[in-house]
Symmetry: C2
Subunit: 269 residues, 2 copies
């Protein structure tokens, strides 16, 4: 194979499996090339990824080492995306009765979810999480895409225990917004004892849901090592949990004038 | 830029946005190269994608034309994956009381979901869908990943109408398995009138849910152009809908012996 073919195939393969470590021998065998050639290809791939700004090509030394593709978003592009997200959230047609905001189209749009997940993957890539946890429903795409980028499994906490979840652990908790008692359940088969979890969700008001997830995980000796939420409501100022990282902050949603106060969390970069 | 750098960057960029059409001028500007060079790069990229088996590089003629990357899975790899999925589903530990099967870990695993979605994207790429529809909860990752591959938006039907969905259309339907009355809701903001939908879900027994989705979509003059389910139960033989396409068929789940009858739908290729 020619250099250009090897480099092209290399980029396609590694970028298709983010954060998966490929042994160099894998490419030697696939391309029928010497290790020295593959090393040169990797050097070329590293430059290419820096040029496109879509990822980083990292080599890991040692016996279990190899090469991996880490999705990347620059601070500049991340800020641009946050601005775009804020503009979308300010659209008048999103304002619902009671100061609620319609966001389902955003949270279920694969292209937007991908950009949000890229920012979380950048932020949390060193957090040491073993898996990603969310609670149904609207945070699932964002949690799964972040999990894909970080090459981690994910667990979805359910509102109701389902037969198909097997034995579950449930807790009741107070919803931060309404101080209403709510319930959440996690399958005993899903929780990994003594591990570390990254919580990803679409929205946080009082932090009750995330606090609930954290509490239910602590029953399995699982430590929360990071919390990312797409949209954090500014009020109430005092949340039930600290150290959460939002993409954007949501202020007042005025039903009458249909104005939405929303601004980016530029501290995330 | 050198040929190898251009081809590598080209592969990284197009494979990062499946089914998105890029104008050739975009790459001329990005690489500072003539159209003839870009055309040669595209020819090289087409060969590379055929070699890796991960995608197809397609050129679209005309004014709105360009080049796009279509994710691909070969019949051989698809059958291998179906076998792997069947082996996983046969694991004794999945058998729950009442003949239910634990599948949440599979449906929330980004790597497995990606392979399932690849098969559906292959199957339904010509179906002309405008968007993908699923019902919460376990089918969401699969639906979203299929939507990402086909470059389509997605809509998630909810079990309960939520305040944050705005005005919703709801229907009551009979669950195929239990003949129990259930409810589903779709936001009026989400449904696209006069359009075509591909339904993707994780599991089908009697077909009640999918029939329900189809009924609720017909209220918006939306036509169902395809139905893909990860796992279809063999019983009952007579489903509430026809023309569904499963990845695997599930037969008897024996609680006592912990055996699971499951086999691939090789007709899908």
């Amino acid at each position: 194979m020619k250099r250009s073919q090897r480099v092209g195939a290399f980029m396609e393969i590694i970028s298709n499996s983010p954060n998966k470590i490929f042994a160099l021998n894998y490419f030697c065998d696939l391309f029928g090339a010497a290790k020295s050639s593959i090393s040169e290809d990797i050097a070329a791939a590293r430059e290419i990824a820096a040029f496109t700004g879509l990822g980083m090509v990292e080599t890991i030394p040692g016996a279990s080492g190899g090469v991996r593709y880490v999705p990347f978003i620059s601070k500049e592009k991340g800020l641009q995306f946050q601005d775009k997200l804020c503009r979308m959230l300010r659209e008048e047609s999103r304002v619902l009765g009671g100061g609620f905001l319609y966001t389902s189209d955003i949270m279920f749009d694969p292209v937007i979810v991908k950009e949000m997940a890229q920012i979380f993957a950048r932020k949390f890539r060193q957090c040491g999480a073993d898996y990603i946890v969310t609670i149904e429903t609207k945070g699932i795409p964002l949690a799964l895409k972040t999990a894909e980028f970080l090459n981690l499994p994910s667990v979805v906490v359910r509102r109701e225990a389902k037969i198909s979840e097997g034995a579950t652990m449930s807790i009741n908790y107070l919803s931060g917004s309404s101080e209403r008692m709510q319930k959440m359940s996690i399958s005993k088969r899903a929780a990994l004892s003594g591990s570390r979890a990254l919580i990803i969700d679409d929205f946080m008001r009082g932090g009750g849901s995330v606090k609930g997830i954290s509490d239910i995980l602590s029953e399995f000796d699982t430590q929360v090592v990071g919390i990312g939420v797409a949209i954090a409501n500014i009020a109430p100022e005092k949340k039930k949990i600290a150290d959460y990282i939002p993409l954007v902050y949501l202020g007042n949603v005025d039903e009458e004038s249909r104005t939405v106060e929303v601004f980016p969390n530029s501290q995330i970069f």
